[in-house]
Amino acid sequence: MILFKNPVHSALGLLLTFFAMAGIYVLLEAPVVAVFQVAVYAGAIMVLFLFVVMFLNLHDEYGFEATELKRIAWVVLGAGLGLAAALWCLSLQPTVFGETLPQDQAQRLGEALLGRHMMAFELISFLLLGAAVGAVALNRKRSN
């Protein structure tokens, strides 16, 4: 994400990072968090980021060309990572995703949110509502 000069490419890099994080959550046996990560961050928030970056339309960064050396470095890095990942995958026992996981994670999350952390949950939703209303109010053109 920080390696690209073009802001849209950086945004896409961030998107990829979100996916990688979702993958880590799955490996940590927390599929609910992983799915929320993809749905909320990758699916909703990043689209808005992308919109903003596109609307800013930063012209100065156009026409950036990768040099030959950089390309070779990318290929070597990618191939190395791919090889490492492949070797690591081969060393794993084949398991089918979803079979060994606790089945009531979503239920427990819901119970925690609307039970023990009810107050915080509701307060945060009010905070977000306030932020949304504030953003609209600030952007409104004053008509005299």
Partner: protein, 330 residues
């Protein structure tokens, strides 16, 4: 060999999904031709059945013209992003219940996730990027406007789409696709959730960019919109994604509202997978019917309808279902 089904089943599903657009396009052209008192494709192959195959081959062999764009990587990535999430999401759809073939047990689904509903909505929300980036990376104002417009439409209707299913989740008490279907053994949710079903159907049509909401393909104003700068099979991936998405959305409607693989009128001798496909075809036929019947919406009407009619309706449905479930006598 426990790993064998894990390899074979995705291969089968993927190839089926690749064939789905060919079949759907042919059927669409035939059905709409009938509705408009025409004959439709009838030259290539028997009854014109190979017409779409010929069209697809033509797309492959067309010259792949690329615009002068500074965003080569994104330009290549966008068509893939429009298709790949749909194939991934299809993995979580249960096409039927357990099949017993001698001593074998065949599960007609790939992944039985306990958060299946969330998984599908999360993965399909990625699809917006394909359209947005395709519009942007073409470095043309027509495609950029088309792309922005399409993403605004898809994001707006995704909310109504997601909310319309919440009622189903409340009733079944599970996010697992198999549980949702199992809960409809005696009564389909289309009976208990009529508002949810209607909102889902309308939002699904907008989500797949089909008539009467096919604003993304505004030939008259935007020279076709987000896919203007694409040609050959890179262009072909967008309509392909659209048809796979249609199929996917119909599968989801079947799972959420039409009882999945459960038979109608106690006709249990027809296998569940076949029932599932019958319901899916019914939903897809509705798509064709609407396309042949209704004119296109205007863009402001579309967005207003999404936010001021569908969204409140879906919210009301959630509230109503939650209240009804908690009343002791029901």
């Amino acid at each position: 060999m426990p790993a064998l089904p894990a390899i074979v089943k995705p291969l089968i599903l993927m190839n089926l999904l690749l064939l789905v657009p060919l079949v759907l396009v042919y059927l669409e052209r035939k059905v709409i031709a009938r509705m408009q008192d025409r004959i439709g494709p009838n030259r290539v192959g028997p009854l014109g059945m190979l017409q779409t195959v010929a069209d697809a081959l033509k797309l492959f062999f067309k010259e792949d013209f690329q615009p002068k764009t500074p965003y080569k990587m994104v330009y290549w990535l966008a068509p893939a992003l429009a298709v790949v999430p749909l194939f991934v999401a299809a993995a979580a759809i249960p096409f039927g219940t357990l099949w017993h073939m001698g001593s074998f047990e065949i599960k007609p689904y790939i992944a039985d996730l306990n958060v299946g509903v969330l998984f599908i909505f999360a993965i399909t929300s990625i699809e917006v990027y394909g359209v947005t980036l395709a519009g942007w990376s073409g470095a043309s104002k027509y495609s950029l406007l088309g792309g922005l417009r399409t993403s605004a439409q898809m994001i707006s209707y995704e909310i109504a789409l997601g909310l319309s299913v919440v009622g189903v989740i409340i009733l079944s008490g599970s996010l697992r696709m198999l549980d949702i279907v199992a809960a409809q053994e005696h009564l389909w949710y289309v009976v208990l959730q009529p508002i949810g079903f209607v909102v889902y159907s309308i939002a699904a049509i907008a989500e797949t960019n089909r008539l009467p909401f096919d604003l993304p393909e505004a030939e008259t104003e935007l020279v076709a919109g987000f896919n203007t700068e694409y040609s050959s099979m890179k262009f072909g991936l967008f309509p392909m994604g659209e048809y796979v998405n249609m199929f996917l959305v119909s599968c989801l409607a079947t799972v959420f509202f039409l009882g999945g693989w459960h038979p109608l009128f106690g006709l249990t001798m027809i296998p569940g997978v076949l029932w599932f496909m019958l319901k899916v075809s019914f939903f897809i036929f509705m798509y064709y019917w609407l396309r042949a019947t209704l004119p296109r919406y205007r863009y402001d009407q579309l967005i207003r309808f999404g936010w001021l009619v569908l969204f409140p309706l879906a919210l009301f449905n959630v509230l109503w279902t939650a209240v009804m479930v908690n009343i002791p006598w029901s």
